[in-house]
């Protein structure tokens, strides 16, 4: 073992870094930028505002509770506010389905009888069911509010506060849906986008540095033909990838125990309320944008390592801001603007709408998301074409 040779190798690496500003940036600047972004998202996130829809089926006593809850939440001092009352539970469900409220509380007609009989009354609480974490937070806020109001009502009537039993129901998915059911649409969008970007970026970089792109440009092929050919070629594989990923997410093929092998399930078997075909269309549109983003960004890389260096700048922010972990409308205002410039935001929004809420192309939001995704894909096609430098089109 020669210390001189070991140090020579170490010195060679340091000398290489000295002339590779981008790698130095990756090591020192990018982690700070990404961590700062994460801190910004978490610390400056807007507080959860729970909007409650009340349904009173318990007559005048029930109305006293509704009035007390409404009065206690005017201006949402604790992040929860009664925003409306509905005539029936179905009307409340419809309100949640249309995103006009986060949680519905139904005071049943049995409320008074149960109370008089000394039983704990039952309340029906309905949540959208599309985000277990958000539903849980809304339920927690509601329980806190009810404890406060029950105390007030009990004190006013000289009685003892009664904390009701809460029965749960969800509008979308089932009440036992787990985090995986909610994250499945995100997997479809995010992983497809990520892998297609890497594949295309590295492949096109090879065209550029290997001389084959220049060789192509010495033939009558046009830049548009190259970009569309690439979109078609990689789009084909991206499509297959999306099909495989969609099937894996939705399928739940139970394989029985064979010999010493225990039983297992192939696929995630997640709940999907909507059309897999529309989900597939959305994921393919996102991937097409990713193909051309890869071509575009390959212009700014000289090595495959530099393509990988784009991940923290291109892929990670989409994960933080695209509505995957935190709803876009709770991000700080500035980051909401950024989020609305990212294709991931529209893909996640549309995929959640389709797979969790069962929306289809009749849904204006889904149509808008698809339209924007197609527009972004077209923009990336143009940008990709513009980066193929040639003296003739």
């Amino acid at each position: 073992m020669s210390a001189i040779r070991v140090l020579a190798v170490a010195r060679r690496i340091a000398q290489g870094f000295r002339r590779d500003e981008r790698t130095l940036g990756l090591i020192f600047v990018v982690p700070i930028v990404v961590t700062a972004l994460l801190g910004w998202v978490i610390r400056d996130q807007k507080d959860l505002m729970v909007q409650v829809v009340m349904v009173n089926e318990a007559g005048a006593p029930g109305q006293r509770i509704v009035d007390a809850l409404t009065a206690a939440t005017v201006g949402a001092p604790d992040g929860i506010e009664v925003i409306a009352t509905a005539e029936t539970a179905d009307a409340a469900r419809a309100a949640l389905r249309d995103s006009n409220g986060d949680i519905a509380v139904i005071l049943p007609s049995s409320l008074i009888d149960d109370t008089l009989a000394g039983r704990r009354p039952h309340l029906l609480v309905i949540t959208p069911g599309t985000d277990p974490a958000q539903d849980g937070a809304a339920l927690g806020a509601l329980q806190g509010l009810m404890v406060t109001v029950a105390g007030q009502l009990g004190a006013a009537s000289g009685g003892v506060a009664v904390i009701p039993v809460i029965d749960r129901e969800t509008v979308f998915l089932s009440a036992d849906a787990d985090t995986l059911d909610v994250l499945a649409p995100v997997f479809l969008a995010y992983f497809g986008y990520f892998f297609v970007f890497m594949l295309t970026g590295i492949s096109f970089l090879r065209e550029r540095v290997g001389g084959t792109l220049e060789r192509l440009l010495a033939t009558p092929v046009s830049r548009a033909e190259i970009v569309l050919g690439y979109s078609l070629g990689f789009g084909f594989f991206a499509t297959i990838q999306v099909i495989v990923l969609t099937l894996f997410i939705l399928a739940g093929l139970d394989v029985p125990s064979i010999g010493p092998l225990p039983a297992f399930t192939i696929g995630l078997d997640v709940q999907s309320a909507g059309s897999p075909l529309i989900a597939f269309l959305i994921a393919v549109l996102l991937s097409l944008g990713s193909v051309n983003l890869g071509i575009f960004l390959s212009t700014f890389a000289r090595t495959e390592l530099q393509i990988i260096q784009f991940i923290p700048l291109v892929i990670v922010p989409q994960g933080l801001l695209g509505g995957i972990f935190w709803p876009v409308d709770r991000l700080p205002d500035v980051l909401q603007v950024v989020a609305h410039a990212l294709p991931m935001t529209y893909a996640v929004d549309a995929l959640k709408a389709v797979m969790l809420r069962g929306a289809d192309l009749a849904d204006a939001t889904v149509r808008l998301d698809i339209f924007v995704l197609a527009g972004i894909a077209a923009l990336f096609v143009v940008l990709a074409g513009a980066t193929i430098k040639r003296e003739v089109a």
Partner: protein, 250 residues
Amino acid sequence: MTAPAPAVQAVGLHKTFGSVQAVDGIDLTLAAGRIYGLLGPNGSGKTTFIRMLAGLARPTAGTARVLGTLVPNRSLLARIGYMPQAEAVYPELSVQENLAFFARLEGRTDRAAVDLVLDLVDLADRRETPAMHLSGGMRRRLSLACALIHEPAVLLLDEPTVGVDPALRAQFWAHFRRLAAGGTTILVASHVMDEADRCDELVFVRSGRVLARGTATEIRQRAGTADLEAAFLHHAGLDAEGRPLAGPLR
């Protein structure tokens, strides 16, 4: 009777990259059906000159016409064959797949064209081999085959015989001669002088300028030297050791 139109005509051609003058006022006319050797050291502007003719770089000043058409012009590219210095082939594709790909881009779909160039570059028995498994010399041959696949009227070859064994090199030149006899104009860029005698005419370039032009014999005679390397040094104003003839050494 009017003289036939030149295959290539460059007038006051300049190309600069930042502060670097890669091509510095080249005036050159190449007749159809002849083989020209563009000779000069690395960095003399040969590749930049060829890239401008191939439509890959726009002149900073001056004009160039190929087959009477001002370059760059995309439709003209179907009549130009270009072999770059780099082995610009797809390593994961087989020999035949590489050729078929470039043939399709050039609008040729007949298999006979592929077979013809495969025989020419002596790769017929390697047609199914991925390019990544070929030797460096074989990849150069494949690259040349890709440039020939569409039978271009003007062939621009940048260092075509580097790494090619002497026997095959002789076959290449025999084929170039046949192509020229059929009317193809061939411009071969090289930094070595040993193939110059095979060209009909030579163009010596240095620092982006034409130093001398003529047949190998004419150039030697004008320089009063026995070999082309010495003639090049003479035309470049250098002595036998590469030092400037006038003025003291610096």
